[in-house]
Symmetry: C2
DNA sequence: TAAATTTGCGTAATCACTTACGTAATTAAT
DNA sequence: ATTAATTACGTAAGTGATTACGCAAATTTA
């Protein structure tokens, strides 16, 4: 297929499907050649039953083993039973189960298939010797890769990384005032309600944060402010990380992490030894972000905010 | 999938199918992630249309390019047209054709997909870097292999070779008399009718062939006689290859070839310089077997057999 | 120039799976 | 000891491809 040389890797799925369909079609002809009355789709079930257990295997056992869904196995078993190759038996201790066993006729098929399986195996192995890249092993590796981390997850990570490269962390400017307020109001009102303290800091960031020796970083994505985070000086010379907010529409770009990193660096450069923060355990993603940044839970001084039920800190030395 | 480590290579088809199904499922989720309103199955068609030709592409053009059947393309195009991503136009010079073109809406999708395609490609390429065996290239190689020679053909060859190892070529014994006659009668009566000469040779092989210095080989498969072939001395000191017969049930085991080889060797050891035979062009497989054995067409002396319309010979020196 | 064959493509049926859903049996939680 | 959740499995419907078939247009052959 020349076509797939042009599309590139993203057509991997389509390409695989085409190849597998070709092979299944050939398989049917091969069963014919050996006059084995077995449909290719039965093969995994049949093979699973060869490993004979006295009591047979339940539908779910087989499904799990061969990696199909149970309705698929159920249907295949019904078809095989109609041909007399398997017998079904209700579970004695567990009445829901349906134990499937190869019948004598099924056992006879096994004999007949023996030669076929050998021929097919040699044919495929000979073909494989003509290739440089081992399809069999490659499939195995991909099954493993996808089990570890789905393709979706892999693409999500790629997206996140690309987008976070497009995120700029900049110092707060007067023109960010409105965005700073809105971003914070948004998350506070979705989870809690605005408190007295919030209004002070959000309406007058210059007076309440910057002029007191604090700092504010803004995150810009495609030029638009989509995140904010403040450093507020504490009495002991350290800083509190506060007013961290990211627009919901800009989630998944690693913006919180970038803002956090910027703040940590700033605090360190200001000679702080610790970074402190207050949050709420309801905010799971936030807490896990703080963990990722290196914060850990501490028992701190009482907070002026009602919504605070967890306090964390990060040692900078 | 542990299971497929037990089944061995013959489950290659089943295994491929499972992997491709997993990937297609993931693909759908990925389109969702980028909010691209495109079904994974549309991808090959869509991609083919990106390579824009002013006039569009006909259904068959697309089908051939992406390696699907035309009904599949036809249906996908219908679905895409319903969403407004493509426009259809009847052929002007050829009224049967249906030219498909990406609509402006389709063009817009292309823009939107650009980033997604890049992310997916990098994700897959990164995953591929974690593997030792290149799935992409392996698939390409297999597509090529199967195009050259189908899996069925490969298995057939394997079967033939294995079975021909189980074929024994033995000298004629009195106990083979009946088989010798029946094997020959069978093919003669299916194609022609028995002639005077046939009865002589088949009823009394000893007198008409062996005692005159000729020779007969029998082919045994699983102990049963399934083929025969005679060498009849000619006046010029050479031999005629005749009475070659193989049971229809034993076709495809290379028996004819083995019998032919045995006869050729015998003739050579008897000091013959040429081997001669008479046949009929209706018997295509036989003629091609003779060619494979090295015979070529000649104009020989008139034959006593009515059914003879081709004469061949093989030089032994 | 008429008849036969080939080609393009749409519709319907089929295939080998899947999800969705329902029922009954078993196990866990309150 | 109920109630709730889980598990086993069957049936029905859906999915993305395929073959089978039929019609009409175009091309080849007689």
């Amino acid at each position: 297929m020349d076509f797939y040389n042009k599309t590139g890797k993203m057509a991997l799925g389509s390409r695989l499907r085409r190849l597998s369909e070709q092979m299944t079609e050939q398989a049917a002809a091969i069963y014919d050649l050996y006059q084995v009355d077995l449909q290719p789709k039965w093969f995994p079930v049949f093979y699973s039953l060869l490993e004979q257990e006295e009591t047979g295997k339940s539908i779910m056992d087989i499904a799990r083993e061969i990696g199909h869904t149970h309705p698929s196995v159920s249907q295949i078993v019904r078809e095989m039973a109609a041909k007399g190759y398997v017998t079904e038996r209700k579970g004695e201790t567990d009445g829901r189960k349906n134990f499937v066993l190869l019948s004598p006729a099924g056992q006879a098929l096994r004999q007949k298939m023996q030669v076929q399986l050998e021929d097919v195996t040699t044919a495929i192995e000979k073909a494989m010797n003509e290739t440089h890249h081992d399809l069999w092993k490659a499939i195995g590796e991909w099954e493993f890769l996808l089990e570890q981390k789905s393709l979706l997850r892999r693409v999500q990570e790629e997206k996140k990384q690309r987008e976070s490269n497009e995120v700029q962390i900049v110092d707060f400017l007067p023109e960010h005032s409105l965005a700073f307020k809105q971003l914070n109001e948004e998350w506070i009102t979705t989870w809690f309600k605005m408190e007295e303290e919030d209004h002070h800091a959000l309406d007058h960031p210059k007076e309440h944060i910057l002029d007191k020796g604090g700092h504010i970083y803004m995150a810009l994505y495609q030029g638009q402010p989509v995140g904010a985070c403040g450093l507020i000086p504490m009495e002991d010379g350290n800083f509190e990380l506060a007013k961290m907010a990211v627009a919901p529409s800009a989630k998944g770009k690693g913006i919180g992490f970038l803002l956090g990193q910027a703040c940590i660096e700033k605090a360190r450069s200001q000679g702080a030894q610790k970074l402190y923060l207050e949050s709420n355990t309801k905010l799971k993603p936030a807490i896990s972000l703080y963990h990722k940044l290196g914060f850990h839970k501490v028992a701190g001084p009482p907070s002026p905010y009602e919504r605070c039920n967890i306090q964390m800190e990060l040692r900078l030395d």
